[in-house]
């Protein structure tokens, strides 16, 4: 037997021994799981509840609590990469913000919800189109430093979408209903339509834009449809004194509180995206913009002399808008040694109905975050982050600078009928964070899993500007006294992973 024949026979016998399976295809009937976990131990020696500041405007790091999301996927018909056969997968996501021993919710399942359930299918009717039926949540990217997704649509929608992806074009169109997310148990249909177009312009630039529109029709006789209670003054609505005022002015019409008048409501958002990168040390830069007109609120309830009255508030809450502009730039300054991420955010919330009281709907804020990650070796990194932020109320004071702020407002005299809160309309916050990061998979600001040991410090002009159970009353008979505190120190041992 010649050497070549021997070699060939050995190869053939070996081929039988090798797995006869084809290249690693997705398998029909395969169940797969993906998700996201975040958990931390942050014992706060100053009395807080384990977060450095109030919210992630100061950077998500140490300002967010525990979170878990698990998405299951089941391949009903596997996707054959080398064939154009129809394929289908089913997806179910459960997520929530609680983990046992790590937060007040203690991981109980009532903190979790089925946030996504949909079926995806492709190679059906149209080539290069993926159909999705069920929940439709979609975003064009994220500001990772803030954990915010301004270019997001259909977060509140269940319905049908079609996504066309080919070459540089990514087009999404969808229709559905947003009534349950917006109204919950007070459901009323809210037809929704929208979409986005994302284009890749060359190898370094991307551009995208889109929007979503919701319409809630007028439905006479439906108590959850949009209505207005006529003759309501905004200040009375704020003070929950609509019924009291009405009965004062109409003492002889006790049974004739005005009936609601049906109307329709609409809302929506426009989103924009510009991305560029792959240029020198610039890995990528994302710019997002979002302009949203909030959906009007349905109603509020007041009780007057033992009787409950529903005040319908469509026209009192239909001028709320939000502009959000964010940017995030990721730089690889010294490859495998030093990465930097810089992010900035600006938000403006306006409520055309409210000119008298501070609220989350009448404010602007601006913030910037800079994170530096130095790679001491492949797996052990040094993280240094700092942020500055300003939040300004557009309708007067909204923050307490001092424990005794009540004596500093309105010329030193407490105003028991005042609509303002605290003694300043501006909150300025600085945060600094540093610590050791252990990344088993190597260098990268966004490489996960990450195990972190961090120290964070915050200074705010607001007193006790972090979640806590402190007493803030000035009652002279109170058992506990309020304390002046503007610096906040916190240590954190935490883990974050996508899988």
């Amino acid at each position: 037997m010649s050497e070549s024949i021997l070699r060939r026979s050995l190869i053939l016998s070996g081929l039988f021994a090798l797995s006869a399976a084809s290249a690693p295809d997705a398998i029909a009937g395969r169940a797969e799981v993906g998700g996201y976990f975040r958990v931390s131990a942050r014992p706060d020696l100053q009395g807080g509840n384990g977060r450095l500041g109030y919210w992630n405007l100061y950077g998500r790091l140490m300002n967010e609590g525990s979170y878990a999301a698990v998405e299951m996927k089941f391949d009903v018909l596997e996707r054959q990469p080398l064939a154009k056969d129809p394929w289908t997968s089913l997806h179910l996501r459960i997520e929530g913000g609680s983990v046992s021993n790590a937060d007040a919710g203690n991981g109980y399942l009532n903190n979790y919800r089925v946030s996504q359930l949909y079926a995806r299918a492709g190679n059906v009717l149209l080539p290069d189109v993926t159909w999705q039926v069920g929940t439709l949540d979609m975003f064009m990217g994220e500001l990772g430093m803030y954990d915010m997704r301004p270019a997001q649509i259909f977060f509140d929608t269940v319905g049908l979408s079609a996504r066309y992806e080919k070459g540089p074009v990514d087009l999404l169109l969808g229709v559905g209903d947003s009534g349950y997310w917006q109204r919950g148990a007070s459901y009323h249909a809210m037809p929704t339509a929208g979409g986005y177009l994302r284009m890749r312009l060359g190898s370094h630039v991307e551009l995208g834009g889109g929007g979503q529109y919701r319409f809630q029709p007028m439905t006479e006789g439906h108590r959850f449809a949009p209505h207005n209670t006529p003759g309501v003054a905004y200040e009375d609505y704020l003070r929950q004194e609509v019924t009291e005022r009405w009965f004062e002015e109409n003492p002889n019409e006790l049974r004739d509180f005005p009936n609601p008048v049906p109307t329709s409501a609409q809302s929506g958002q426009l989103i924009g995206y510009l991305g560029f990168g792959g240029l020198g040390p610039l890995r990528w830069n994302n710019t997002f913009v979002r302009y949203e007109k909030m959906h009007p609120q349905l109603s509020t309830t007041e009780t007057y002399e033992g009787t409950s009255y529903t005040i319908y508030t469509n026209d009192l809450t239909d001028e709320r808008t939000m502009l959000l502009l964010g940017n995030e730039m990721q730089l690889r300054l010294i490859p495998q040694r030093l990465d930097v991420v810089w992010a900035a955010l600006y938000g403006q919330h306006q409520d055309g109905d409210n000119d008298i009281a501070p609220s989350d709907h009448d404010r602007w804020y601006a913030s910037t975050v800079l994170r530096t990650q130095i790679y001491l070796n492949d797996t052990v990194h040094l993280l240094v982050e700092s942020s500055v932020a300003r939040e300004v109320s557009l309708n007067g004071n909204a923050y307490r600078e001092h424990a005794d702020s009540i004596f500093a407002s309105e010329g030193g005299l407490p105003d028991t009928r005042g609509l303002e809160y605290g003694d300043t309309d501006t909150r300025d916050t600085w945060q600094g964070k540093t610590g050791i990061v252990f990344n088993p998979l190597g260098p990268g600001v966004y490489v996960r899993p990450s195990l972190r040991l961090l120290y964070g410090v915050q200074h705010s002009n607001q007193n006790n500007a972090f979640g806590s159970a402190f007493v803030d009353t000035q009652d002279q008979f109170a058992d506990f006294k309020s304390v002046e505190r503007h610096w906040h120190h916190l240590g954190s041992l935490e883990m974050e992973a996508w899988f």
């Binding site: 016998s13 039988f16 020696l45 996927k73 040991l453």
Partner: protein, 194 residues
């Protein structure tokens, strides 16, 4: 309060030093072939979305070559050019592909074939989740009955929407390199066993 802060600072620094320790731990040396051995290395990426077959990113190829070199194997990379893509498109099973590699690189004593298939999964918590399914096959070219195989999936959560299959495969690189290293250690260790 001062004592408390000092204690906290001390605990923090202590824990930081403990955190640094894993980076200094000695690694297990790779199993080396007795003599330098010519090895054909082929990494083929299949994009599930459009069925394209292409080469792996250079960084992954480089990492795998380093794993081979560390085991006294001399890598010879088989690029997935148009002809190779056509050949692999026609030969969809691993045995057929290995046979094609054996014939293409007759001078190679060992064959290492890494088949990666990358598929989009979903958007989750701000990221774009992909799945990288990988099959690693390493075998003496002259006796495929001694082949060693490993199959695994690597979840990858990409930061940007424009990042696609190549980036997902690159992100999965550290896991793939580790698995290839394990397969090579099994193969080389078995071949050099008395």
């Amino acid at each position: 309060m001062v004592l408390t802060r000092r204690a906290a600072l001390g605990a923090f620094l202590g824990a930081a030093l403990i955190g640094l320790a894993p980076g200094c731990l000695p690694k297990t040396p790779p199993v080396r072939a007795a003599t330098a051995t010519a090895t054909a290395l082929c990494v083929v990426l299949t994009k599930v979305n459009d069925g394209t077959l292409t080469s792996a990113p250079a960084s992954l190829n480089k990492g795998l070559e380093e794993e081979l070199i560390a085991r006294n194997l001399t890598p010879s990379l088989v690029e997935i050019d148009a002809a190779a893509a056509d050949a692999f498109r026609a030969r969809r099973s691993t045995p057929q592909r290995v046979e094609w590699l054996v014939n293409k690189r007759a001078d190679a004593a060992l064959i290492v074939l890494v088949e990666a298939q990358v598929e989009y999964y979903t958007q989750i918590s701000g990221r774009f989740r992909w799945t990288v399914d990988v099959r690693v096959t390493a075998s003496p070219a002259s006796d495929l009955s001694q082949a060693v195989q490993s199959e695994f999936s690597v979840p990858v959560a990409l930061q940007y929407q424009h990042e696609r299959e190549e980036v997902a495969l690159e992100e999965a690189g550290p896991v793939i390199e580790r698995q290839v290293a394990s397969v090579l250690d099994q193969l080389v260790g078995g071949l050099s066993a008395p």
